[in-house]
């Protein structure tokens, strides 16, 4: 597999200039995520307007894969409903961990670039940290930090 499959331009770009990399001062929910294996740390800020995610942001430090994944996630889910976010988590989880390819990769848009990570088992956790953190904050607000080890 070529390196370019993992470090696609979209990933390099979102690592260099992550979108929504900021605090939300009046966030409805805040959740920390941590990957003790590599030291990746991030905080997800979520602002809910009823069932709708009116704002989503993150802060933290990590490798290019984890930062790009969080950036792409925040970009994609702003304005979506909690239900839509949960459905997207399931699809991303499958994309990152399962052999069978998503039949509708195109509808994932830019997020499809993360499919290359599947070929690098040691890096799957980097890409999935933000998604697990999001799932946790949607389902169990106020939990201790999420760990992907």
């Amino acid at each position: 597999m070529d390196l370019k499959e993992l470090y696609k331009d979209v990933i390099v770009d979102h690592n260099r200039s992550p979108r929504n990399f900021r605090k939300i001062p009046d966030a409805t929910r805040i959740q920390e995520g941590f990957n003790p294996l590599c030291g990746d740390k991030l905080t997800v800020y979520l602002k809910l307007d009823g069932e709708r995610i009116s704002d989503l942001s993150f802060e933290g430090s990590g490798c290019a894969i984890s930062v790009a994944s969080a950036s792409l996630m925040s970009e994609r889910l702003k304005g979506k409903t909690v239900m839509e976010a949960q459905q997207l988590f399931d699809r991303m989880h499958a994309l990152l961990t399962r052999e069978d390819t998503d039949s509708d990769l195109e509808s994932l848009g830019k997020l499809a670039v993360l499919s290359g990570v599947r070929e690098y088992p040691s890096r799957v956790k980097c890409a999935s940290l933000c998604w697990h953190t999001l799932k946790n904050v949607l389902e169990h607000p106020g939990n201790p930090p999420v760990s992907t080890e």
Binding site: K41, A64, I65, R123
Partner: protein
């Protein structure tokens, strides 16, 4: 000299050491990774095994396999002789005074846990102090933290400088009337720093305090003489010194071992067992409960033979020259910063690159066939000191060459390309 086009690429002649010849003894190094020749620079994590070690393990299972110290049959006697023969090899290798002082364990980690749980637990009281350093591997921190929970022992930490050396004068100041043990890395796994252990041991002994050295990163790379250093305990792992995994050694002075209670109970470590009470076997068997890792021990003995056939002093000198070359070459990579620049260093090159996470470095150089370690190297306090989450680490062995370093530098240029 005129033939040398570029003084930086060829900074100094390598000592007369035929690394490519030794490299041929390691079958695993002949393979390709991602279609590129394997460049193995993760020796501080584990080393590769020469054919002689692989053969010794296979031979044991093909010709000698039987339990040791038990049977009267021929195979058991042969297996026992091979197992105890390995103990003699290890004794000679580190110049211990007696076979009673060589305890086979699973690795350096188990050796340190043994000392903490047997020596520490039987001798220390609440408020007793153990001196560690900030550069310790987790395996020389956590066993003492467990003891802290069990006994109320107090841990005192020698800080490190930004070069990765122990802070001058800090160690001596930590001694009090409650100091009971010093537990210190001989060589740091994350930074490569070689500590001035002989002087530090002499100082501890002036206070009547014994010293444990974690020698996991020293034994494979430099001559170790426990009697010359006068350390009280010395722990090391077989797999980092070209032997099998799951085998290691605790060296301890006989007088200390004689006083220490057993670490684990079971077969082989007893003399008599009655339900009213049991008596212990003599040293070193008192500390080797259950059927040991016989194949691993014999394999480790073969690794000692192999290393002695090369000579530890030659290995040390060669690796020193290779380290100097690697240090100079890495410094030519733009925005790369070495972490750990102690004056006395073993072959460890830890580094970070500005704006690029170590894990991305690791994945990209792997695609070029170059195996390095990335992460906190089981030394989170070291990472905390430098305020970084992780480093990339290339660690050398005697089978590495300048070409391996060049391949790493070339792969790092690829990293810069990806992240331009």
């Amino acid at each position: 000299m005129n033939a040398r086009r570029d003084s930086l690429r060829n900074p100094a002649p390598m000592p007369g050491f035929d690394a490519p010849r030794w490299r041929r003894d390691f079958p695993i190094l002949r393979q390709q990774v991602h279609g590129k020749p394997l460049v193995y620079l993760d020796n501080a994590a584990t080393s590769q095994k020469p054919q002689a070690v692989i053969d010794a393990v296979a031979d044991y299972y093909e010709k000698l396999n039987a339990n040791v110290h038990r049977g009267v049959h021929q195979l058991s006697e042969l297996a026992t002789a091979a197992y105890e023969g390995a103990r003699e090899k290890l004794r000679g290798f580190i110049n211990a005074a007696s076979l009673k002082e060589i305890i086979f364990v699973r690795g350096a980690t188990e050796a340190i846990n043994l000392v903490a749980q047997s020596y520490g637990r039987s001798r220390f009281q609440g408020g007793d102090e153990i001196i560690l350093s900030e550069m310790e591997h987790h395996s020389n921190i956590v066993p003492w933290q467990l003891l802290r929970e069990q006994m109320g022992a107090v841990l005192k930490i020698v800080p490190i400088t930004d070069a990765g050396e122990l802070e001058p004068g800090a160690y001596e100041k930590l001694f009090t009337s409650r100091t009971r043990l010093v537990a210190l890395a001989h060589v740091s796994n994350a930074l490569g720093s070689i500590n001035p252990v002989k002087k530090m041991i002499a100082h501890a002994h002036q206070h009547g305090v014994p010293v444990l050295l974690d020698g996991a990163q020293a034994v494979p790379h430099l001559p170790v003489n426990v009697r010359d250093m006068d350390c009280d305990f010395y722990a090391f792992s077989g797999h980092k010194m070209f032997g099998p995994t799951g085998i290691g050694v605790l060296y301890a002075k006989e007088a200390l071992l004689a006083e220490m209670p057993p670490y684990q109970g079971g077969g082989d470590m007893i003399r008599t067992v009655r339900f009213t009470g049991s008596t212990w076997n003599e040293l070193p068997h008192k500390f080797e409960a259950g059927t040991p890792n016989i194949a691993g021990t014999i394999g480790l003995g073969a690794a000692v033979d192999y290393l002695e056939s090369i000579g530890m002093l030659s290995i040390q000198n060669y690796e020193q020259a290779l380290l100097e070359y690697g240090t100079q070459r890495l410094q030519t990579v733009k925005n790369l910063k070495l972490v750990g620049t102690a004056r006395h260093k073993a072959g460890v090159l830890s580094f970070v690159m500005e704006g690029i996470h170590p894990h991305d470095i690791g994945s990209i150089v792997d695609q070029e066939g170059v195996a390095i370690r990335t992460g906190h190297h089981c030394a989170m306090p070291v990472m905390e000191h430098f305020r970084i989450p992780a480093t990339a680490r290339a660690s050398l062995a005697f089978y590495n060459t300048r070409e391996d370093i060049d391949a790493l530098v070339q792969a790092l240029e690829k990293v810069r390309e990806v992240f331009h």
